[in-house]
Subunit: 334 residues, 2 copies
DNA sequence: AAACATTACGTAATCGTTTACGTAAATCAT
DNA sequence: ATGATTTACGTAAACGATTACGTAATGTTT
């Protein structure tokens, strides 16, 4: 690897001059700067990140905590889109991203230790067990950090507006004449609580009393379970006219399965998903699209801001999504 | 950040002794080693990756080239599984992974330059435009490297057995009595060519003459296009009895869409996917499961091996998948 | 007891940068 | 012409670790 030393020798200047020339410091004359840059280019020189980091204490590297919770992992379109968007924004700001894990040299360690080791300029917590002591330790550290879809009180966060999501969906269903609206929701996380709140409040505001049989707990991304719960709803004496699924994935999966089994969903039942994955749009599913791209971008901006202009105050942003009107909610006579 | 210097001071020894004690060098007595380790632990010491890398020229960091080709990106379950598996294996071997990009300090650069900058111990090319000059430059570099699902002649590779995939699927369809087997395949990449080869050879071996109308080019992960092509096939005078789709995603999407449109697939048509994504299993789709987990693991093993025991010779592995018998291929009378 | 080997640590150079500070030459002011 | 300022570069220390080599204090051999 060619270093500044060799460029210096080749140009007959000192290493310091090379460094300053390459980083556009003002006290180098234009002729020498140009000459040095040209030689550096010719020799295929590239700055050494380790040496620079050692001296400046800046790595231009962001740690990403992305734990394959509920075995959806990267394959979960929502999270993968957030990650892609974050990555893109980070790269534009001059940062790389590296996954955080809790191993060191192949041995067990902690997330925080790993971050110290790598000297990340900042950390983003995308998908994790938010109550894991190791995660909390990281959240309580003094590393610039931001969490996505979960709010700690000592850490900036960017979260998707889940309450609005369900409010919009329920309002839409009501506008189509539905009053018997069921909600198969995910496991009881913070996100789910917000959605359930939105569900209840919107029904209440519209003078619709909630049938508790219509609110069923399932899991995110669990096709089997959603399928079972949907069948339970359909078997009810007073069955709903509209079913909101935990997410698009389980909705599409559950109904596909019914289709393969030649027991398709009855014609008079409307269905709604959540997330706004691509496939949902392709098949015409009515859903609520979370703005994953904005979530990633805003999270990155917050983090880079916290790194470059540290104030210590943490800010919480809420990102709205939008309803996608598909063809799966039918008009119902009152 | 607490460094070895402070531990040395606190223990009344030299920095060298601390370094040797922490890395279990033999010439430190057990008492001092234990004392140093205890103090290091108490002070919350962690090794500094940059300093170590600078001195040893080893970063224990692997660069991942993962370009969002055909806008499937991380959300493509096949690739995300490979990546997860690779990541896991890398972590077990003591390596972290960082995404490669072609920017430096927010400016345009090249993949190779980025790798030089970060000093990756090795590089894996997972999903990229394999003919991109920048990728070729990386492939031709002297960085230990491995490519997945594409074989360069100067770079180790791990590829999924695409020919076997189609051979198995076609053989299965034939065993169920089908002779009119259509293949909607993806864009003409290397992978696709292998699959098409498998398709043709198996039909030929079974004495079935190929109806060229049955071989149609579409795209991977393109629901709309697969949907259109499937309809074209169904509109043929002599229509096929079995359709192989480019992948599970487009198959499920296309048929879901037909379902939503209340023009479901005729009962006498069999369908087959490719990839073995989770949803495919949930809905009972007959498909060919690529062994993404093995692909990732083997690729990592190859790479780590190339890093730690450099020989210069490159090896190519082919990973077999397996047919998943769902319920979407019906028995047909001869 | 002299010679030698072993043990356990320290010394100092080094990796590739950055940067505060020093300095010589050129330019300017008076 | 003298002193002050500016310009353009060099010097050297520092970041935090690693490691070849040196060395003092022990232990071992004959």
């Amino acid at each position: 690897m060619v270093s500044m030393k060799e460029i210096a020798r080749s140009c007959g200047v000192s290493v310091a001059t090379v460094s300053k020339a390459l980083s556009d410091k003002p006290d180098i004359s234009k002729p020498t700067r140009d000459r040095i840059r040209k030689v550096a280019e010719e020799m295929g020189y590239m700055l050494n990140a380790s040496a620079r980091a050692l001296k400046t204490n800046r790595t231009y590297n962001i740690g990403v905590l992305f734990v394959d919770r509920m075995s959806a992992g990267l394959a979960h379109e929502y999270f993968s889109e957030i990650l892609e968007s974050f990555k893109k924004a980070a790269e534009e700001s001059g940062y790389d991203i590296t996954f955080i894990n809790n191993r060191f040299a192949g041995q067990d360690s902690t997330y925080l230790m790993h971050c110290k080791y790598r000297n990340f300029d900042g950390v983003v917590i995308v998908s994790a067990d938010f109550m894991d002591p190791q995660v909390l330790e990281l959240v309580d550290s003094d590393i610039p950090r931001v969490s996505i879809d979960y709010s700690y009180n000592n850490c900036s966060s960017v979260i998707s507006d889940n309450t609005k999501g369900l409010r919009d969906l329920v309002k839409y269903a009501i506008s189509k004449g539905h009053r018997k609206i069921a909600f198969i929701h995910g496991e009881r996380t913070d996100v789910t609580k917000k959605r359930v709140m939105g569900y209840y409040s919107t029904l209440r505001e519209n003078g619709i009393s909630v049938n508790e049989n219509y609110v069923i707990e399932a899991k995110y991304h669990d096709i089997d379970l959603s399928y079972e719960k949907a069948k339970e709803l359909l078997a009810l004496e007073d069955r709903p006219t509209c079913i909101i699924f935990p997410d698009d994935y389980s909705r599409i999966g559950a109904l596909s399965r019914m289709g393969e089994e030649k027991n398709p969903l009855p014609d008079d039942i409307s269905v709604i998903g959540y997330d706004g994955i691509k496939m949902a749009k392709f098949v015409g599913l009515t859903t609520y699209e979370q703005d994953a791209v904005s979530l990633g971008r805003i999270a990155c901006r917050r983090l880079v801001d916290a790194i470059e202009n540290p104030t210590g105050i943490c800010e919480h942003s809420v990102v709205a999504g939008k309803l996608i009107e598909g063809k799966t909610v039918k008009e119902v006579r009152q």
